[in-house]
């Protein structure tokens, strides 16, 4: 990329500085990299420039990671481009409205059972978390398909971060994560997608479950299993076969 280097004039100083930056960026060919290493070894000013650039890159990586796109952007883009028919993929608003209607129409007894921490069972609390997420503008508090973004997000909020695995190759893209409340305790929930369906995967500590179970509660399919001392609850309006497939893949995936 560059020719031989000298440092006689101010112009050359400037040029050498550019090469220090290129060196930090791994953009120099081996010959120039060795030459600039020698310059830095003999010139404290260049070594200081290298230290500053490395410190800047480090602090940017830590404090300003690339911001994730809003969850709804993909759908908006697909609509803008005309790839999506409105009926095929309901918007969150429409889904929330139909859910709200369904809940309004259901009995007050059911509604009461969905209140978490009111003596309700764990499955009820898990379903309540899932429903609240569907009604919220975003089903996840941290929206990212990158498990390396989602997992650290939990660490600052709850004592035990869940296992987060990448299942996009299997058709279950990670959408994000949120904190739910089960038995007055904050617990992590991961959100995965399957076509237009959402899957909430809630990890509840202090497993007290005998074995893997599946059940249908209030029209939602649920599968629960124990791993790493926690009970994982997968809940979705997805059909049971595909939800079982999701559970199998999640358990088998390396973290």
């Amino acid at each position: 990329m560059t020719g031989p280097m000298t440092a006689d004039t101010h112009d050359n100083d400037d040029r050498t500085t550019l090469l220090v930056h290129a060196y930090v960026d791994g953009e120099l060919d081996p010959a120039n990299a060795i030459a600039i290493e020698q310059c830095m070894a003999s010139e404290p000013a260049l070594a200081a420039e290298r230290a500053r650039v490395e410190a800047l890159r480090q602090v940017l990586r830590e404090r300003l990671p690339r911001e994730a796109e809003p969850l709804a952007l993909r759908a908006k883009v697909r609509r803008a481009v005309g790839l999506t028919r409105q009926r095929a993929q309901p918007t969150w608003m429409a889904m929330a409205a139909s859910l709200a209607l369904a809940i309004f129409a259901s009995s007050t007894g059911t509604w009461y059972a969905m209140q978490p921490g009111a003596g309700g069972s764990v499955p009820d609390a898990v379903i309540a978390g899932h429903l609240r997420a569907l009604m919220a503008p975003q089903p996840a508090d941290v929206a990212s398909s990158d498990r390396h973004t989602v997992k650290p997000w939990f660490s600052g909020r709850i004592p035990l971060a869940p296992r987060v695995v990448d299942l996009v190759q299997d058709g279950f893209p990670l959408i994000g994560g949120r904190v739910d409340v089960v038995n007055r305790m904050p617990v992590p929930s991961l959100v995965y997608g399957r076509r237009q369906h959402l899957i909430s995967l809630t990890a509840v500590p202090n497993a007290s479950l005998g074995s893997t179970t599946s059940q249908t509660v209030q029209g939602y399919n649920m599968i629960a299993w124990i791993a790493e001392g926690m009970t994982y609850w997968a809940v979705s309006d997805l059909n049971l076969e595909e939800l079982q497939m999701f559970a199998r893949l999640f358990r088998a995936a390396p973290s």
């Binding site: 550019l18 230290a51 500053r52 800047l56 602090v59 690339r66 952007l73 481009v81």
Partner: protein, 183 residues
């Protein structure tokens, strides 16, 4: 059917880069809602152009469209003044001259790495936002989005040498802005 071809190409070439597209648009517009508008418009342009896409780096291709769309969008909707390239060369030279004179022995007086490491996110973001647009774009593409020099040269439509000088100047200005004890 060519419509299906375009759809498949769009899904393969454009969709994987929505995150990068949004991040760049967010830095250029400085606003999340504006960034979403820009990305939608850019995707529409990309969808129309994707049939003629001749190969090469898909991320650089997409981000070039996003960046151009962002500046046209700003000019149309926010009355932003887009700096012409000629002006920019003059600006860069002026900045270089100021940096060289005001810093004096700038290598000795420049603040140290420990101070840089203390800068918090708000201060970093403010300092990046204050950079001249071409410097800011180059720095964001390299140090936040992780593009290499050749990709940045393609996206910002300048030679690699210009990328190098913009990047070094952008970093030096950023360092000067954040590496002080006050604030």
């Amino acid at each position: 059917m060519s419509g299906d071809d375009n759809t498949a190409r769009f899904e393969r070439i454009v969709q994987p880069h929505l995150g990068d597209a949004y991040a760049l648009a967010r830095w250029i517009t400085g606003d999340r809602a504006d960034a979403e508008d820009v990305v939608q418009e850019a995707c529409l342009r990309a969808f129309r152009a994707v049939g003629g896409y001749a190969g090469g780096n898909t991320r650089a291709w997409m981000l070039t469209i996003v960046r151009n769309t962002a500046y046209t969008w700003l000019a149309r909707n926010r009355n932003a003044v887009v700096t012409a390239v000629d002006d920019l060369v003059a600006t860069e030279n002026a900045i270089a001259a100021v940096a060289a004179t005001s810093a004096g022995g700038r290598y000795d007086t420049n603040p140290e790495a420990e101070l840089i490491a203390k800068a918090d996110a708000a201060r970093l973001e403010a300092a990046i936002t204050a950079l001249p647009p071409q410097f800011r774009d180059t720095l964001v593409l390299r140090d936040i989005q992780g593009l290499d020099y050749r990709e940045i040269a393609a996206v910002t439509e300048v030679p690699v040498g210009t990328v190098m000088s913009r990047l070094a100047r952008a970093r030096q200005r950023l360092i000067a802005a954040i590496a002080t004890e006050d604030q």
